[in-house]
């Protein structure tokens, strides 16, 4: 499933947070969106996922317009998202989190017919947990998980919706080097296995250059450059934007 944005624009007050951005993410690609702080990356994701309505431009999934649709509709269309601050259900165990998400995805969220979990939900939940390396902590209450595991849970919840396009907002934020490597491994593994169109926002250039096929650089809401990691590395405008230094890892 490919994702395309054309002339996407969003203003807050007088400031254009996203300014006439056009990008295409081919089906099955692994792309990174980078840029200095305040470049509009999270806003970009918010626009695509329907959390914000664009002021101009179009967002298309496989050629079909999803601009201005509600979050729920966009989710149904096959777009999943994980958040910068991991969003999950803290009082429930990892397994319960995933079973509930699977049940919701299958339209069983309002079912009074049988006890929870509905049939098949547990198996599927465990499958997803395994895919993200969370099997070992499946019975831990989500609030007690390590930060890294919580981010993985966030991604797992997104995967429970069987998306074809996955947006990951700073998946390695706040992690130490080991956790970071683990996370990025998982992300790559999931991408390959599920044949997703995966787009992630990152600040850690090592990771970006390690796994991304394509890199898009946003700066002050504008698209500065897009291309292979090597091309981006050498692009003078990009270098100028970052002043030749790596963006500090948060």
């Amino acid at each position: 499933m490919n994702l395309e944005v054309r002339h996407l624009t969003k203003r807050f007050g007088g400031v254009a947070a996203i300014d006439d951005v056009s990008l295409e993410f081919p089906s099955g690609s692994l792309s990174a969106v980078i840029g200095p702080n305040g470049a509009g990356k999270s806003t970009f994701f918010n626009l695509i996922s329907g959390a914000l309505t664009p002021d101009g431009g179009h967002i298309l999934v496989d050629g079909e317009e999803i601009t201005g649709r509600s979050q729920a509709a966009i989710v149904h269309r096959g777009l999943g998202r994980a958040f910068q601050v991991a969003q999950f259900f803290p009082t429930m165990t990892v397994r319960e989190n995933l079973m509930a998400a699977v049940a919701a995805h299958r339209g069983q969220w309002g079912s009074l017919a049988r006890r929870f979990p509905p049939p098949g939900a547990q198996a599927r939940a465990e499958e997803i947990a395994a895919m993200l390396g969370l099997a070992a902590v499946a019975d831990r209450v989500a609030a007690t998980l390590s930060h890294g595991d919580q981010k993985l849970l966030d991604i797992a919840l997104a995967l429970a919706l069987e998306p074809k396009i996955l947006l990951l907002d700073e998946p390695t934020a706040g992690m130490g080097p080991e956790e970071r490597a683990r996370m990025i491994d998982r992300v790559q593994h999931v991408w390959a296995e599920q044949k997703l169109t995966l787009i992630f926002i990152e600040h850690d250039m090592d990771i970006v250059f390690r796994i991304a096929e394509r890199v898009a650089v946003l700066c002050y809401g504008r698209l500065l450059a897009v291309g292979t990691p090597d091309a981006i590395r050498a692009d003078p405008a990009v270098i100028a934007a970052y002043l030749g230094t790596e963006a500090p890892t948060p």
Binding site: Q71, F89, A113
Partner: protein, 318 residues
């Protein structure tokens, strides 16, 4: 499935015990206590469907309790409906009222939701007090409840009322348990934990919230019906805010995380109230002190305290 059978077995056993108890020892005081408990426990458990189960903090749930009592008593007094028909009709009417109130309130955020529900309850209360011709005003509904015969069982007698209440208590709790343990109940927990995430899983939030609001109202009304049978009428106190306060205390005292918490809390509260009213004229003072000790000392409900913390090696069932 096995949880269903297990809990069904527990419910059945409890019912057998309750129904059998008077055969073993005769105690009108005990029967009296259980009758009062059934009304309060149904109300408190229904309140916890909202508070603990869905994170919807309603200050005005007493509206449905009071409505149930008055509607049922008035139907019995002014129509020729049988007791069971009046009961069912009252529940249907309560559902309609809950639907109307819910549609108005659901979209509001936490503290405003709490206020509006309270305001609507106080509106209802002031209508009860002013509409003297219909409701008897602050004296309460006079005239008693006629025709208390169900299938040849005359619940005018306390022992029969006791059995009626015991059955409804167990059945009501079991039904509410089914709700919380169903996928629908899980969805409510998701909404309680992280509404935004639940929305992003594709759940249209207003539907489960409205549904549980109506269901909670219906069960509260059932409690009100039992209260009305107990006092052979209805009193404005049923719809007054201090009564809601008592129910909130019962829920917190027993534990909002445990399904049977409100039942336990109601039992403790009723027992304490009975003791206090016997000891002193100033039972408000004593109750207030107890509440403070609870809120500052214990801080968690009794059953939550005793419960094994989640994280053990099985799906934590609630």
């Amino acid at each position: 499935m096995k949880e269903f059978l297990r809990e069904g077995g527990v419910a059945l056993a409890a019912l057998v015990l309750l129904l059998g108890a008077p055969l073993v020892f005769s105690s009108p005081a005990f029967e009296d206590f259980i009758i009062r408990l059934s009304a309060l426990a149904l109300f408190a458990t229904s309140l916890n469907l909202l508070i603990g189960g869905s994170g919807m903090i309603s200050f005005g749930h007493g509206l449905f309790y009071g409505f149930g009592a008055y509607a049922f008593a008035l139907l019995m007094q002014r129509t020729t409906l049988s007791l069971v028909s009046a009961l069912i009709l009252t529940l249907v009417l309560a559902a309609l009222v809950a639907l109307l109130v819910g549609v108005v309130c659901i979209r509001l955020k936490t503290i405003y939701f709490a206020f509006v529900t309270l305001a609507i309850q106080m509106l209802f209360y002031s209508v009860i007090i002013s509409w003297v011709r219909l409701t008897g005003g602050d004296q309460g509904l006079q005239g008693g409840i006629p025709r208390r015969v169900i299938a040849d069982i005359d619940i005018n007698q306390q022992s029969h009322l006791y059995q009626f209440c015991a059955v409804l208590l167990v059945a009501g709790l079991f039904a509410m348990r089914h709700i919380t343990a169903s996928p629908f109940g899980m969805t409510l927990r998701m909404i309680r934990d992280n509404e935004a995430r639940a929305a992003f899983l594709g759940i249209p939030l207003w539907r489960p919230k409205l549904a549980i609001f109506v269901l909670a109202g219906v069960f509260a009304a059932l409690g009100g019906i039992l209260a009305s049978l107990f006092v052979s009428g209805a009193y404005p106190e049923f719809a007054d805010w201090p009564f809601s306060g008592q129910a909130i205390f019962a829920v917190m005292l027993g534990g909002i995380e445990s399904f049977l918490g409100p039942l336990a809390g109601s039992a403790i509260l009723l027992a304490l109230n009975d003791i206090f009213t016997r000891l002193t004229e100033y039972h408000g003072l004593v109750q207030g002190v107890v509440i403070l000790l609870f809120a500052l000392g214990l801080r968690r409900g009794v059953l939550d305290f005793l419960r094994v913390l989640p994280g053990r090696g099985e799906v934590a069932s609630r």
